[in-house]
Amino acid sequence: MKISKSLLPLVTPLSKDNPVIVQVLGICSALAVTAKLEPAIVMTISVTAVLALANVIISALRNTIPTSIRIIVQLVVVAALVVVVDQVLKAFAYDVSKQLSVFIGLIITNCIIMGRLEAFALNNRPWPAFLDGIGNGLGYGIILVIVAFFRELLGSGTLLGCQVIPQWCYEHGYANCGLMILPPMALITVACIIWVHNRKAS
């Protein structure tokens, strides 16, 4: 499939240059928020919003930022955006913000954001930077959702909180795999995705 060159920053992070499984960024939060599907989806939306906005702001400021403090400038912009997202969630989606509690604050430390600001926004104009932010946010989200899907299904027998494994199975000796809910299995699930992805790519 031919994709016009201007859309490349949006499309490549989805698979070929995926932030989690190819650039190996943002692994930490991929382990933390994927025990259930719903927080994974909300986290995806929040990270995508913060990343796209931060990319645009840094890209717009890129010619004015003094090189010696560029990392600090990026941090200030990202931190401000994250606090705004957190405050808005607390005011308008209180239940969701309660569920994600500390993870919203941890968006600041998400390596994808600093990584993309350094690698892309500082050298590109705002529009491609915006597409790059959306693309990387979604690329991160795809992995999060896949991992959360398997962890919630096998670990709790539910999807988005609804029971999907019929009661009949439990009565005949099926048991949820408690290990799936613990962080190590997120790492192994991500590793399996990388394996499949590499096989397809080669």
């Binding site: 004015t64 600090i72 705004v84």
Partner: protein
């Protein structure tokens, strides 16, 4: 102007930080009233949940609270009402539970339900990763538990976090925190499949041992000072003597 000079860098950093500071304070001030309302509503929802009243879709929690909660007051460890200007709703249970029993301010919420008057009492303690809290409602006349609600800040999803599910909290219904001889025993949380020789107990969350122990300690520590209050409500309702 030379963009790599020290002066430029210092001015740039100051302007940026000032701009961000102004932005954040505007956002904070603008959204604060809405956030406080959300927090209040969430607390009200938890108090009602302990009395097994749940808002239906689209129903305002504040209205439901005003409809059911008929009184709220503070008692001391002798079970007497304390005349205090403090709003029981605003009492910080987290700091109260650390005080010696006789110095605590003990909030009580009277809740009118379809099955009579219930007394809702807040509890607070420590789980595995952070604080856990809850509200427990007691029947008038018998001082047995009518319903319970538990919340947590960051217990492990699927394990310790299961204490907030009805599957765990509904086990408390009908349990008594007083032994037949009137001693305060609280309700124990024991490993599933095990029994307790005396006193009421519920089954722990499997895989959430430390959180479950946290619940047990929280109940004991938070409810013990209410012992005299329980004795009062046990003997308060003369209608009940005919039933027992």
């Amino acid at each position: 102007m030379n963009r790599q000079s020290n002066l430029y860098t210092v001015i740039y950093a100051s302007v940026l930080v000032l701009a961000v500071g102004i932005l954040l304070s505007v956002v904070y001030q603008g959204l604060r009233p809405r956030q406080l309302e959300n927090i209040d509503n969430d607390t009200k929802r938890q108090i009602l949940a302990a009395a097994l009243i749940f808002p239906s879709e689209g129903q305002s929690v504040a209205d439901l609270y005003a409809e059911h909660i008929k009184g709220a007051y503070i008692v001391n460890s002798n079970g007497q009402r304390v005349d205090d200007n403090l709003d029981p709703f605003k009492v910080k249970v987290a700091t109260q539970v650390k005080l010696p029993a006789d110095q605590r301010k003990l909030p009580v919420f009277e809740c009118e339900t379809s099955s009579g008057l219930k007394y809702v009492i807040p509890v607070y303690g420590a789980g595995l990763w952070g604080p856990i809290w809850g509200y427990v409602s007691f029947n008038e006349g018998s001082a047995t538990i009518y319903g319970a609600y538990f919340g947590h800040e960051g217990e492990t999803p699927g394990l310790g976090a299961e204490i907030e599910k009805p599957a765990f909290s509904s086990q408390f219904e009908g349990k008594s925190v007083l032994a037949p001889d009137g001693q305060f025993t609280s309700v124990a949380v024991v490993k599933a499949g095990h029994e307790l020789a005396s006193g009421d107990f519920v089954h722990a969350v499997s895989g959430g041992t430390i959180t479950s122990q946290g619940v047990q300690n929280m109940l004991y520590n938070s409810l013990e000072p209410y012992k005299a209050f329980f004795d009062n409500i046990k003997s308060s309702n003369p209608d009940n003597t005919s039933k027992s």
